[in-house]
């Protein structure tokens, strides 16, 4: 008999077991069915209220969470730091506690500081979902990436996945490494030396600095964006030089002699890490990732909502 998730919050993939991930995938299968019906809504969470608290810019993640919550019939309130009292000097705990006094059961938190979600889960009485904490983790993105790989290739175990680009500043990379390894895949990171964290090999991943070598090795390439907003110094001479070394083009793909799956968590910088031709090709599953994102977030919210105190 299944007892639900082993955790009360989704703070990072690090805190999930393989069984948790399998349960989220199984539940997401059902929700994927739901969002493809004529009526795409279920009443499961009609007595649950969720606050989406975004202390950092986001388009796709915020929309995806909002849509997932609405399709579950939850009541939602949205908060973004730009237009709030945070600019008047209020602390994170005070801000969240004020919102919780309005009887909110769950908080979806995006914050620029690593560990913000973990900190909040210890300070306030609500289920917390980490929607990205600085350069640390972005668990729902990693879940939807792994789910998309499973959907495309039938299995995650035994597959070789290369994560290419700005590994140093990417929360997607770290969450993906944890998720893929827990599901039995092999992971490689690829990028310029300056954008690969020094001791990342200790996580059990391969490190490669040559894009072509990485692509020859992998079944799936997850192309990451250069996170300019997090870079306070120059990590490479110019964007043009980065593109010449690490930009994925049709020519490189065609030269591989095999079909690999191309993923991108978005937002895409077309012509930098990936050309339009590749991003729009049949090998790319970028838009499937977005669709699966809604199903994965519905599954996560649904399974965590079961942990809210009884009615």
């Amino acid at each position: 008999m299944n007892n639900g998730l082993s955790t009360d919050h989704l703070l990072g993939i690090k805190y999930l077991t393989k069984e948790d991930i399998d349960l989220i995938f199984q539940t997401a299968d059902s929700f994927k069915g739901v969002i493809n019906r004529p009526i795409k809504k279920v009443p499961a969470l009609r007595d649950v209220t969720i606050a989406n608290m975004f202390f950092e810019n986001s388009t796709r993640t915020k929309l995806s969470f909002e849509l997932a919550e609405k399709r579950l019939s939850a009541d939602i309130i949205n908060f973004s730091s730009g237009a709030s009292s945070v600019s008047k000097g209020e602390t994170l705990v005070d801000t969240v506690n004020n919102i919780l006094s309005m009887k909110v059961d769950m908080v979806v938190l995006r914050h620029p500081i690593p560990g913000a979600a973990l900190f909040l889960s210890k300070e306030v009485d609500a289920r917390i979902i980490n929607a990205g904490d600085g350069t640390h983790e972005h668990p729902t993105q990693a879940l939807l990436d792994a789910y998309s790989i499973k959907e495309k290739l039938g299995e995650v175990a035994g597959k070789k996945v290369a994560i290419v680009g700005d590994i140093k500043h990417s929360r997607v990379a770290l969450s993906n490494i944890y998720a893929l390894q827990k599901l039995g895949a092999e992971v490689m990171v690829c990028g310029p030396t300056t954008l690969i964290p020094k001791h990342i090999a200790q996580l059990g991943v391969r490190v490669e600095h040559n894009l072509k070598e990485a692509l020859e090795w992998c079944d799936v390439a997850n192309m990451l964006r250069i996170q300019m907003e997090r870079q306070d110094i120059s990590y490479f001479p110019s964007i043009r030089e980065y593109t010449m070394q690490y930009g994925l083009t049709k020519k490189i793909l065609d030269g591989l002699g095999k079909n690999i799956v191309i993923m991108h968590p978005g937002p895409i910088n077309r012509g930098v890490e990936i050309t339009s031709e590749v991003a729009d090709s049949d090998q790319a599953i970028i838009l499937d990732q977005v669709e699966n994102g809604v199903a994965i977030r519905m599954a996560t919210i649904y399974l965590l909502a079961a942990k809210i105190d009884r009615v």
Binding site: G4, Q26, G33, V34, P38, I39, A44, A305, A306, R310
Partner: protein, 186 residues
């Protein structure tokens, strides 16, 4: 703590089981003729076995292929966050829309009626059916929580709350039978 021994009584043996299924199929054929605009929907997890059996028997007796689906009602239940058991969904296999169709919802045991209430809501997300009928292989009558009554009944039984009715299927458990378990003080 009291210990209980379960006494059991066979309500339907395999022969009676077969006769009952056959009768239910003839009743369906009588009301739905060629089933051209009808669909049988089994409620997950165990109503699908009845749905599949009906489909097979109708094919054998009348040579008609009835559209049949399996519907999971988990997300429509009214006891989310009210039970110790987590509500984990089963698969939904509905490769048709129910818009304008005459739907027959089927389940193995009808008890409080709450599953059927959820099933009605779940069915409507696939479109607006022209009508919905309800079939239960076993009707535990006089124990309804909601005003829901079946159109087709295999067998009615009078039970009390502590009793349990279990339907086993040839395809799944190796034998067609229905058993009533009654707890007995030792």
């Amino acid at each position: 703590m009291q210990s209980f021994r379960m006494a059991n009584e066979i309500i339907l043996n395999s022969k009676q089981f077969e006769l009952t299924i056959n009768r239910l199929c003839y009743q369906l054929i009588e009301n739905h003729n060629d089933f051209s605009n009808s669909a049988i929907i089994g409620l997950q997890p165990r109503g699908i076995y009845l749905a599949n059996r009906l489909q097979n028997v109708i094919r054998k007796k009348a040579g008609i292929e009835v559209q049949t689906g399996g519907l999971d009602i988990t997300f429509f239940r009214d006891d989310f966050r009210r039970t110790d058991r987590p509500l984990i969904p089963s698969a939904t296999n509905m490769d048709f829309v129910v818009e304008g169709k005459k739907v027959i919802l089927v389940d193995d045991v009808l008890y409080t009626g709450r599953t059927v209430r959820a099933g009605l809501d779940a069915t409507m997300t696939f479109g607006r059916p022209s009508s919905i009928e309800l079939m239960a292989l076993i009707d535990r009558r006089f124990s309804r929580n909601l005003p829901i009554e079946p159109n087709y009944v295999g067998k009615s039984v009078d039970t009390i709350e502590s009793e349990r009715v279990s339907v086993t299927w040839l395809e799944v458990e190796g034998e067609d039978k229905v058993i009533l378990y009654t707890p007995e003080n030792e």
